[in-house]
C-alpha cells in the first residue's frame, strides 16, 4: 500500500446559502490544502452539513465560488465533481454484496472487469474485509458497514473525500477504533478529506485543522491545539472543552476588576466599552491549602470522574461558582471535602478574555 493519491486542493470563496429568508451560511471563505483532513465542527443547525452538501454539489449555494484544484466547480452537478462521500447512514445498497457495492462506482465509468476485480480486492485489503466480500450489508456489523461505505467512496480514487458524521451511528468502542483507522488510511492515501461532526473529541483527535462553525459563520479555523488553547471567541471557548467564565470590568491598560479586586492580565484587552469576560479552563485553576492563595472559596460538590475530580467551588467574596479539575493525588493532599474551605489562584497566563 505504498501508493499516494494526490488529493486536490479545495477553495471556498464567499459562499452564502439562504433557505427562503433564513441565512444558513454567511460569507464562508476557506482553503483546504491537498492531503489535509479538515473537520467542520459545530452544534446542530450551524450550517456544517449544508456546507458539505454544497461542496458535493448536492445543494446549490446562493452565492460564492468553489474551486477544486484549478477547476471551477461552483455550478457543476455532483456527477461531474471529483469526490467520494460517506453518509451517516452509509446508504449502502442493501441488494448488493460488499464486492458489488465497492465496484459500483468503477462499473459506472465502464472500467474493464479484470481491473474492477483487482481494484475491489485492493480496497477490501485496505479496509480489512477480505473475508466478507460476498456478504450483504445487512449481514455485517455497524463498523464493518462503515468500512464498506469508505471503501466504496474511495474506489474510484477521488481527489476529495467527504464524510458526513461517519461515526455517529456506532457505539463508543467501535467509534474510537475506527477514528484512528480512518485517520491512518487517509494519511496513507493522501486524499483531501472534509469531515462533518458535532463531536468535539472526534474533531480534535482526527483533524489537521478544525473549522468551528456557529449560526452559519466560521468562528475559528485552526489546529486542534490552537482551538483548545487559543479560542478566538467565547463561543469557541465554551463549545470546545469546559470553561469557566468570569465577568469583569476593564480598568486602564491590562488591568481588570473582578468584584472589588483588581487583576493584571498578560494579554491585551479586546476592544469593548462595557463588560469583559475572563475565561479559564477547569484544569488551569491552581488549588492551594486554605489560607495560602489569593481567592477564598468553599467546596460545594465533588464529582468523581475517574482520572480526575471535578470540584465545584464558590468564591465567597464575589459570589461566583467555579469548576476546577483536580487529580486524585492533589485532592488528597488538599483534603478536599464538601463544605471545606479552599484557596485558589487564577494564573494570568491561563486567563483568556473576550468582549462580552
Amino acid at each position: 500500500m505504498s501508493q499516494k493519491t494526490q488529493g486536490s486542493r479545495l477553495e471556498i470563496q464567499g459562499v452564502n446559502k439562504f433557505f427562503g429568508d433564513f441565512c444558513a451560511l454567511k460569507d464562508i471563505n476557506l482553503t483546504i490544502e491537498p492531503g489535509e483532513l479538515v473537520c467542520f465542527l459545530g452544534p446542530s443547525g450551524c450550517g456544517k452539513t449544508t456546507l458539505l452538501r454544497i461542496i458535493a454539489g448536492l445543494e446549490r449555494q446562493s452565492g460564492g465560488l468553489l474551486h477544486q484544484g484549478e477547476t471551477d466547480i461552483s455550478l457543476k452537478p455532483p456527477r461531474e465533481r471529483d469526490f467520494g462521500i460517506v453518509f451517516q447512514s452509509y446508504a449502502l445498497f442493501p441488494n448488493m454484496t460488499v464486492t458489488d457495492n465497492i465496484a459500483y462506482g468503477l462499473r459506472s465509468i465502464g472500467m474493464p472487469k479484470a481491473q474492477v476485480r483487482s481494484r475491489v480486492d485492493e480496497l477490501l485489503a485496505l479496509v480489512g474485509l477480505e473475508d466478507q466480500a460476498s456478504k450483504y450489508p445487512a449481514q455485517l456489523s455497524g463498523g464493518q458497514q462503515q468500512r464498506v461505505a469508505l471503501a466504496r467512496a474511495l474506489a474510484p480514487t477521488p481527489g476529495l473525500l467527504l464524510l458526513d458524521e461517519p461515526l455517529s451511528a456506532l457505539d463508543a468502542k467501535v467509534r474510537h477504533h475506527l477514528r484512528s483507522e480512518i485517520r491512518s488510511l487517509q494519511k496513507q492515501l493522501g486524499v483531501t478529506t472534509v469531515m462533518v461532526t458535532h463531536d468535539q473529541e472526534e474533531a480534535l483527535a482526527m483533524a489537521d485543522r478544525v473549522v468551528v462553525m456557529n449560526n452559519g459563520v466560521i468562528e475559528q479555523v485552526g489546529t486542534p491545539l490552537d482551538i483548545y488553547q487559543q479560542p478566538a471567541s467565547a463561543f469557541v471557548a465554551s463549545f470546545i472543552g469546559a470553561m469557566n467564565f468570569i465577568d469583569s470590568s476593564p480598568l486602564n491598560g491590562q488591568r481588570v476588576k473582578i468584584g472589588n479586586r483588581e487583576l493584571d492580565l498578560i494579554r491585551p484587552l479586546p476592544a469593548a466599552d462595557g463588560c469583559i469576560q475572563l475565561a479559564i479552563r477547569p484544569e488551569d485553576v491552581h488549588l492551594l491549602p486554605s489560607g495560602d492563595g489569593e481567592w477564598e472559596g468553599e467546596v460545594l460538590a465533588l464529582d468523581y470522574l475517574g482520572a480526575f475530580i471535578r470540584t465545584h467551588i464558590r468564591l465567597s467574596d464575589i459570589e461566583l461558582d467555579l469548576v476546577v479539575d483536580v487529580d486524585p493525588r492533589s485532592a488528597r493532599r488538599l483534603d478536599l471535602r464538601v463544605g471545606g474551605c479552599i484557596c485558589l489562584n487564577l494564573p494570568s497566563d491561563a486567563l483568556h478574555c473576550f468582549a462580552a
Partner: protein, 586 residues
C-alpha cells in the same frame, strides 16, 4: 494500489463516448448527461401532471359544468338541482344512501376490529389461513354477495324464514352485501394499525396492575384509533359509492348510485345524472378530506426503539378471539359457498342436479365468453400500464429533485381519484371523451378507454403504496450514486427497482383484481366490442339469468384467486432469493 490510477477527467471523456467535435448534434455522453439534468425530471413530472389532469380533473370539470347546463348545453345555474330536489329524489335516494352507508360502516368496522383483535392479540392457531379467508371477499365483484343473498334469503331462498317475513330486497340486503365486500378493506387497515404494537405499553399496564379490560380500553383501543377512523371513512365511501349490491338486491329502495344509473341508462337524462353525481361526490369528498386530516395527525407511534408485542398464553382470551371470528368466517364461507353451489345447480330450485349448464355463457345475453376474454385483456393492460405509470411517477416525485410546488400539485392529482366514486368517474368520462370536439374521442367504446378509466379509478391507493415503498429507501442512495458517477437512472434500475419489487407486485395484483371486479366506472363506458365479465354479471342478472350471473361472478373470483396465487408464488420467490440481504432489515 498502483495498478489502476485513472484521472477522473479521462473517465468522463473515455474514448468510447467521445466523438469528433465537428459534429453538431450532441454526443452520447452529453445526451446521457442531459437526461440527468434537473429540468428533464421536472419536465417528466409536468407530463405526469398533465396526464393525470386529462384523466381526472378535466373529465370532472366537464361533469360539473354539465350539471349546470340544460339538454341543449345552455347555462341554467342550479335549475337542475332544484328540479331534482322538487322531484323528491333528495329525500329518498340521498338520505337512503347516507343511513345505509352509515349503518354498514358501524357493522363492518366493529366486525373488522373484533377480527383484527383476535388475529393480533390472541394466540389462536392458523392465523395465517384465517387472514387469507377473511380477505377472500376482495377477490369477488361486489355483485357476488348480492346474488348469493338472493339465493339465501330471496323469494326462493333456502333461509328465507330466518328473516321473519322481512324482505331481503331493500336495505337489509344492501347492508348485508356491502358488509361482505367492504370487510377486507376495513380489516387490512386495522391489521396495519394493530400489527405493530409496542409490547412495552402492555408491560407498563401490567406493571401498573391494570385489568385486561382496562388495558384493552387504555392501550389497545387508543393504539388503533386512527385505524378505526380511517377504516370508517373508507367503508363509508365504498358503500355509498357502490352500485353493484343495490342494483342487484336493492329492489325498489333508491340510493344515489342506482339513481345515477337509472337517470343515465334508463332515461338518457345525462344532465340529471350529472346532478346526482355531484350529490354523490359531496359525501365522498368530505370523507376523503376528513380522512386526510386524520392521517396527517397520525404520527408513527411504533419507533425503532419499540419492542414488538407478543400475546401471552391465555386460553380464555383465545376462546373469546375464536368467538369473535366465527360469525364473520361463517358468513364469508356461506356467501361464497352459496354462489358456487348456485352456479352449478341446473335449475333452481326445481332441478338441483349439478351441471355446467350455467357456464355456457354463449347461450345467454351479456357478451358470453368474449366478455370474459375482454376482462382478462383489460385487467392485464391495466396492470401492466398502470403499474409502470404509477411507479415511474412516484419515483419522479420521491427520488428526483423537484420543485416543491410541482410535487404538491402532483400529490393532489394522484390522491384525487380516491375521492371520486367510480360511477361519477365513468359518467364524467362519457362527457369528456365522447365529446365531438375531443381529438381523442376515437378511443370511446374501446378497451383502451376502459383501461385508462380503471387505472385512474384505482390510481390513488397504488400511488400511496409506491410512495411508501420509495420513502423507506435511504434518502442518500441517489447522492451516493452521483458521487460514484452513476446517474439516477442507473440507481433506479440497479437499486431502487430491485428493492421495491415486493411493492411492485402488490400494486400489480391490486390493479389486476380491481380491474377484473369493478363495475361502477366501466358500466357507462363499455362498447359493443368491449363488454366485460363484471358487466355481464349485471346484465345477466337484470335479464333474469341469475344462475349464469352467479357462474360468471364465480369465474371472476376464481381468476382473481389464481392471480393472487401467482403473485404469492412470485413474492415467495422474491423473498427467498433476497433473503440474504433482507436479513436484519426490519
Amino acid at each position: 494500489m498502483s495498478v489502476f490510477d485513472p484521472g477522473k477527467s479521462s473517465m468522463i471523456d473515455s474514448p468510447s463516448f467521445s466523438t469528433p467535435a465537428t459534429r453538431n448534434w450532441p454526443t452520447l455522453a452529453e445526451l446521457r448527461r442531459r437526461l440527468t439534468d434537473r429540468w428533464v425530471f421536472a419536465l417528466l413530472l409536468v407530463i405526469g401532471c398533465v396526464v393525470l389532469t386529462l384523466l381526472v380533473l378535466a373529465p370532472l370539470y366537464t361533469l360539473l359544468s354539465k350539471s349546470v347546463e340544460n339538454k341543449a348545453g345552455e347555462f341554467v345555474g342550479l335549475e337542475n338541482f332544484a328540479h331534482y330536489l322538487s322531484s323528491g329524489g333528495i329525500e329518498s335516494a340521498f338520505f337512503n344512501s347516507l343511513w345505509v352507508a352509515g349503518l354498514s360502516t358501524v357493522i363492518v368496522v366493529s366486525l373488522a376490529f373484533m377480527a383484527a383483535w383476535a388475529l393480533t392479540r390472541t394466540r389462536l392457531p392458523f392465523t395465517g389461513w384465517l387472514r387469507g379467508v377473511l380477505v377472500l371477499p376482495i377477490l369477488a365483484p361486489s355483485l357476488l354477495p348480492a346474488i348469493s343473498l338472493v339465493y339465501l334469503f330471496g323469494n326462493q331462498g333456502v333461509l328465507k324464514s330466518w328473516l321473519f317475513g322481512a324482505e331481503i330486497y331493500g336495505p337489509i340486503g344492501i347492508i348485508m352485501g356491502s358488509c361482505f365486500w367492504t370487510f377486507p378493506h376495513a380489516l387490512m387497515i386495522l391489521l396495519t394499525a394493530m400489527d405493530n404494537a409496542d409490547g412495552r405499553h402492555y408491560e407498563a399496564a401490567t406493571a401498573l396492575k391494570a385489568s385486561p379490560w382496562r388495558t384493552f380500553w387504555t392501550v389497545t383501543v387508543p393504539g388503533a384509533r386512527y385505524g378505526l377512523v380511517s377504516a370508517g371513512f373508507v367503508v363509508f365511501t365504498l358503500v355509498i359509492t357502490d352500485f353493484g349490491v343495490p342494483k342487484v338486491i336493492g329492489g325498489q329502495f333508491d340510493v344515489l348510485a342506482t339513481d345515477i344509473y337509472k337517470q343515465v341508462i334508463g332515461q338518457q337524462k345525462f344532465e340529471m345524472g350529472a346532478v346526482v353525481s355531484v350529490l354523490l361526490l359531496l359525501p365522498a369528498m368530505l370523507a376523503f378530506i376528513a380522512d386526510r386530516y386524520v392521517q396527517r395527525k397520525q404520527s408513527a407511534s411504533f419507533t425503532a426503539r419499540s419492542v414488538p408485542y407478543r400475546p401471552r398464553q391465555d386460553r380464555m382470551r383465545d376462546a373469546i378471539g375464536a368467538l369473535m371470528l366465527t360469525p364473520t368466517v361463517v358468513f364469508i364461507f356461506a356467501i361464497i359457498g352459496m354462489a358456487i353451489y348456485a352456479s352449478f345447480v341446473t335449475f333452481w330450485p326445481y332441478n338441483l342436479q349439478l351441471s355446467l349448464n350455467n357456464y355456457q355463457f354463449g347461450r345467454m345475453d351479456g357478451g358470453g365468453w368474449g366478455a370474459y376474454i375482454n376482462s382478462l385483456k383489460m385487467a392485464l393492460g391495466t396492470m401492466l400500464i398502470g403499474t409502470g405509470l404509477v411507479f415511474f411517477n412516484a419515483w419522479l416525485m420521491e427520488r428526483t429533485p423537484q420543485p416543491k410546488l410541482l410535487t404538491g400539485v402532483f400529490q393532489f392529482l394522484s390522491l384525487l381519484p380516491l375521492a371520486v366514486p367510480g360511477l361519477v368517474l365513468g359518467l364524467s368520462y362519457i362527457f369528456f371523451f365522447n365529446h365531438p370536439d375531443n381529438p381523442i374521442n376515437g378511443i370511446y367504446g374501446t378497451l383502451f378507454i376502459l383501461i385508462l378509466c380503471t387505472i385512474t379509478h384505482f390510481y390513488a391507493v397504488s400511488h400511496l403504496t409506491a410512495v411508501t415503498a420509495l420513502k423507506q429507501l435511504d434518502q442518500e442512495f441517489e447522492a451516493v450514486g452521483e458521487s460514484l458517477n452513476a446517474s439516477r437512472w442507473r440507481v433506479l434500475f440497479t437499486v431502487t427497482l430491485p428493492l421495491c419489487l415486493p411493492a411492485i407486485l402488490d400494486v400489480a395484483l391490486y390493479l389486476f383484481v380491481n380491474a377484473m371486479t369493478t363495475v361502477s366506472a366501466v358500466v357507462f363506458l363499455y362498447g359493443h366490442d368491449s363488454q366485460l365479465a363484471s358487466v355481464a354479471v349485471l346484465n345477466m342478472d337484470e335479464a333474469g339469468d341469475i344462475a349464469p350471473a352467479a357462474a360468471m361472478a364465480i369465474l371472476i373470483t376464481a381468476t382473481c384467486a389464481v392471480a393472487k396465487l401467482i403473485q404469492g408464488v412470485l413474492r415467495f420467490w422474491v423473498d427467498r432469493s433476497t433473503r440474504a440481504w433482507r436479513q436484519g432489515m426490519e
